[in-house]
């Protein structure tokens, strides 16, 4: 069962078009909702005009003052309003909601509304935010800053053979799940029910209880089939659910609110743009003695998840290396752009891009190969990370690197390219990225969450897994069923995953942070084992048992004792300590590790860059499902190729101007190579069946591997992403000048 590519649980429903996504879901008498938004980045709302020619009496209209409870989308700091009341802080900020049964009329009505705003000077870049010419958040525009220190960096510079500096920048990136965001809400005498596309049913639940000021049991949140999330459906669905819920509450009718692509692109969160500075002290033999890293991100107009993104990014900034002296300063700034938010990788793709570009720069300064510098510094069991976390398990980075070099035929191909490149306008090159990704919530996060998941068995012996962890394409329905079926020694089709419905499943925490398989998987495994134990203790099940013996044992148990259910609550592995204040200690229960190698071609005439080959080697503990696991890596790499080369968010006055799939370009099947994936298994003692988290790891590697390959091909440094042809042309011209 474990390590076998069983069929995806919901595969058939998806292949035949029968799976129900939010826009496929309808209720009798349903109205449609739209959101009217701010067209200026910052200012005071002075009036709202309802234009002529629209039968306004037929419409349900909701403004901030209609909100029965607190006007905020509750998350970390509760600073983001559900609807802007008197002040707007970014373009496309929701101000007013409309509902009507006729969607054509609704669109006309939306255009007939004019929001009058007295504009104020807006802060549209990190530089102007830092300069504090306008204070738009708190007293200094800083959402959060962290300092991570190890050893004594100030004393290291005088001992260094080399001091290497670099500055790197990364752009915003859109998650671009194929299914846009949407929700349906229905008010009844018992309360509110919301259905939709989401990663975190209990985040939505929490936001709605605060918005309405109601008790928990009056709000019910149900996840529908979700067409991709990648973090983009972590926090923003709470906003849309709140809007749909308010319209339903005011109209007394069910309301559907689904964004079209353009609205989804302009209004919802993106990956945080970042600037990272490195200053490194190194010895002649390649050993890194000290790293000073400055990491700054643009959080947008409200805090949302920014402090947590900053923290994960900072913790990952020193990568898979041992370094005795480290100082990492990190700062998240407020600007008047739509809030940036969760996206697969959560800060780590930014800092690891910078680090892995910088490793190549260090190698070149010292005169060593990129491979040698990395090997010289790989962290090993017993050594400590920048936060002082001692690595307790074997680290197989050398093995991963060896395998990646071999599978990519690195040395032979690189020598061939160095001979061929001078005679060709199309230059080829290869680049390495070595990295790690912490699985589960950072620091004490999992302890605070105290997730619960359960298993319930029917009289026929069918097993239902109860968790708020959602299937969004990653395959959690299948892997969780595999874990439970394996624990109970049952066939896979005897195990099903309950619909994530807050009225029926416990709070297992959000479906984020590469935590579903590792953390929730462990909970459902232990809940399943408790069921087995209960049956055994009741004397109804022997040591070894057949499927039919299990079924009759369940039937007997339920007849005698009533429902057969078991819940498991998260318990941190022993010895895990974290200091929130100092950012010191065990940042993660464990890390997944990887080495990626990219081969690119750069046409120096057109500046077109192609990824010709891509090898991804990783250690994610034990692989539960080889096809789904490889699918996670391949998808993450493709998304990383987009991050590196194609996906440019063009900001104008704080708004994404290229808000269409025609001009925000994600990779197609002809832009991606046959991504080659290899696993080195190293079972993790606290993971279910030895598994670790996997989902985010693959997005950390492609950008640095590809940009290192570009440098290898063209011979000079590119320190930003995305490397669009026009940006590369400029860089080449500056190089030649």
């Amino acid at each position: 069962m474990i390590g076998i590519p069983v069929q995806r649980k919901e595969g058939k429903a998806k292949a035949t078009g029968h799976a129900v996504y939010v826009d496929d879901f309808r209720l009798p008498g349903m109205l449609y909702g739209v959101t009217v938004r701010s067209s200026v980045p910052r200012g005071r709302i002075t009036a709202i005009h309802f234009g002529p020619g629209i039968p306004w009496q037929e419409f349900t209209v909701v403004r901030a003052r209609d909100i029965p409870g607190a006007n905020c989308i509750s998350l970390i700091s509760d600073d983001q309003p559900c609807l802007a009341d008197s002040f707007v802080n970014h373009r496309e900020e929701p101000v007013l909601l409309l509902a009507h049964q006729n969607r054509c009329l609704l669109e006309k009505a939306k255009l007939a509304i004019r929001i009058e705003v007295e504009a104020l000077p807006a802060v549209l870049s990190m530089e102007s935010s830092l300069a504090c010419t306008q204070i738009i958040w708190g007293t200094d525009n800083i959402f959060k800053s962290f300092l991570i220190e190890k050893g004594n960096i100030d004393e290291v510079w005088s001992k260094a053979d080399f001091i290497i500096e670099g500055e790197y920048s990364t752009g915003a990136q859109e998650q671009l799940y194929l299914e846009t965001n949407g929700m349906v809400a229905e008010i009844t005498a018992d309360g509110l029910t919301v259905w939709g596309s989401m990663q975190c049913p209990y985040y939505v639940h929490k936001a709605l209880t605060k918005l309405f000021g109601w008790k928990d049991d009056r709000i019910r949140v149900i996840q529908l089939e979700t067409g991709g999330g990648f973090g983009g459906k972590e926090e923003y669905p709470s906003m849309i659910a709140a809007h749909a819920a308010l319209l339903s509450w005011k109209s007394g009718k069910p309301v559907k609110l689904v964004y079209d692509r353009s609205e989804d692109l302009v209004a919802t969160t993106k990956r945080h743009p970042a600037r990272i500075r490195h200053r490194t002290a190194a010895q002649r033999d390649g050993k890194i003695l000290g790293m000073e890293i400055d990491f700054t991100i643009d959080g947008g107009a409200y805090a949302t998840l920014t402090p947590v993104v900053l923290s994960r990014g900072a913790i990952h900034a020193a990568g898979p290396y041992e370094c005795p002296n480290v100082r990492i300063r990190s700062t998240a700034l407020a600007t008047n752009v739509p809030p940036h938010g969760a996206f697969r990788g959560f800060g780590a793709p930014q800092t690891l891009f910078a680090l892995e570009r910088h490793m190549d720069k260090i190698a070149s300064a010292i005169g060593l190969s990129p491979e040698a510098v990395r090997r010289r510094n790989f962290i090993r069991k017993g050594q400590t990370t920048a936060t002082g976390q001692q690595i307790r398990e074997d680290v197989v980075m050398d093995k991963l690197l060896d395998r990646a070099l071999k599978e990519s035929d690195f040395h032979a191909r690189q020598s061939r390219f160095s001979l061929e490149n001078p005679r060709s306008s199309v230059k080829r090159g290869m680049g390495i990225a070595a990295f790690l990704h912490g699985a589960g919530f950072t620091g004490s996060g999992e302890r605070y969450l105290s997730s619960i998941a359960g298993v319930e068995v029917t009289t026929t012996g069918n097993v239902l897994v109860l968790t708020s962890g959602v299937e969004m394409g990653q395959g959690s329905k299948t892997t969780l069923a595999q874990i439970v079926a394996s624990a109970l020694n049952l066939p896979l089709d005897q195990v099903d995953i309950a619909v994530p419905d807050t009225a029926r499943v416990p709070n297992s925490g959000p479906t984020v942070a590469s935590r579903t398989c590792m953390v929730i998987g462990k909970l459902v495994e232990s809940a399943a084992l408790t069921i087995q134990q209960k049956l055994r203790e009741a004397g109804m099940l022997g040591a070894g048992y057949s499927q039919s013996e299990f079924c009759s044992a369940c039937s007997n148990y339920i007849q005698k004792y009533g429902p057969l259910k078991s819940y498991a609550k998260y318990q941190a592995p022993a010895g895990i300590e974290w200091d929130d204040e100092k950012h010191q200690g065990d940042a993660y229960g464990t890390f997944a590790w990887a080495v990626h190698i990219a081969e690119v071609s750069v046409d120096t005439v057109t500046c077109q860059i192609r990824v010709e080959d891509y090898v991804a080697v990783q250690e994610v503990g034990r692989v539960i499902h080889p096809v789904l696991a490889a699918g996670q890596i391949e998808g993450g790499v493709a998304q990383g190729i987009g991050y590196a080369l194609y996906e440019n968010v063009a900001w104008t006055d704080g708004r994404m101007e290229n808000c269409q799939m025609t001009n925000y370009i994600i990779p197609t099947s002809v832009d991606t190579p046959r991504i080659r994936v290899f696993f080195e298994e190293n079972p993790y003692s606290h993971g279910p069946m030895g598994a670790k988290g996997i989902g985010e790891l693959p997005i950390d590697g492609p950008a640095p591997a590809i940009v290192n390959a570009i440098q290898n091909a063209i011979g000079f440094s590119v320190d930003f992403i995305p490397v669009m042809p026009e940006a590369l042309l400029l860089a080449m011209e500056m190089q030649n000048a």
Binding site: Y177, R261, Q660, S669, R674
Partner: protein, 162 residues
């Protein structure tokens, strides 16, 4: 402009529909006929989630004004179930990891069906070119291509008495 009558044959069933002339074929399929297997991913013909067969040609139904489809024969993912070939393509997608979130899947399957009818033994590069009108954000296309290549092999095999 007032509503107009159009005739459509969808998945073998005839319909007389009273529609707004500028409605898209996609809207009529999804809202009037409740054939929601065809998806709306971008509304501008970029993503391919809304692919259907219109008189035997693969089209993005978000780019077809309904009047243009008057009198036409339309096959959607739901109707394609009658086609033995498509069932095999769907099985290949299910078995070889060609599906993750599933939102692009109906379009991908329609696209694969069209490709394999025109080119029963495509190379990997031909599959990649053939599917380039469909965007997927989950899979990196590796296993979608593999699913289509596997389907092409299966479709070549003599059929058993199913």
């Amino acid at each position: 402009m007032p509503k107009q009558q159009v005739q459509l044959r969808v998945n073998g069933v005839g319909y007389n529909l009273n529609v707004w002339p500028m409605e898209r074929l996609l809207d009529v399929l999804r809202h009037e006929l409740q054939l929601t297997g065809t998806k709306d991913g971008c509304g501008e013909g970029e993503c391919g989630a809304c692919l259907v067969m219109l008189n035997g040609n693969l089209v993005n139904s978000c780019l077809v004004p309904i009047l243009q489809a008057d009198g036409a024969e339309v096959t959607t993912i739901e109707g394609a179930a009658a086609d033995r070939d498509i069932a095999r393509i769907q099985t290949a997608f299910i078995e070889h990891g060609g599906i993750q979130c599933g939102f692009c899947t109906p379009g991908m399957v329609m696209s694969a069906l069209d490709l394999l009818k025109k080119n029963p033994r495509p190379s990997e590069m031909e599959v990649r070119a053939g599917l380039a009108g469909c965007l997927c954000r989950c899979t990196g296309y590796v296993r979608i291509c593999e699913s289509v290549l596997k389907a092409s092999q299966i479709l070549q095999e003599p059929r058993s008495q199913e």
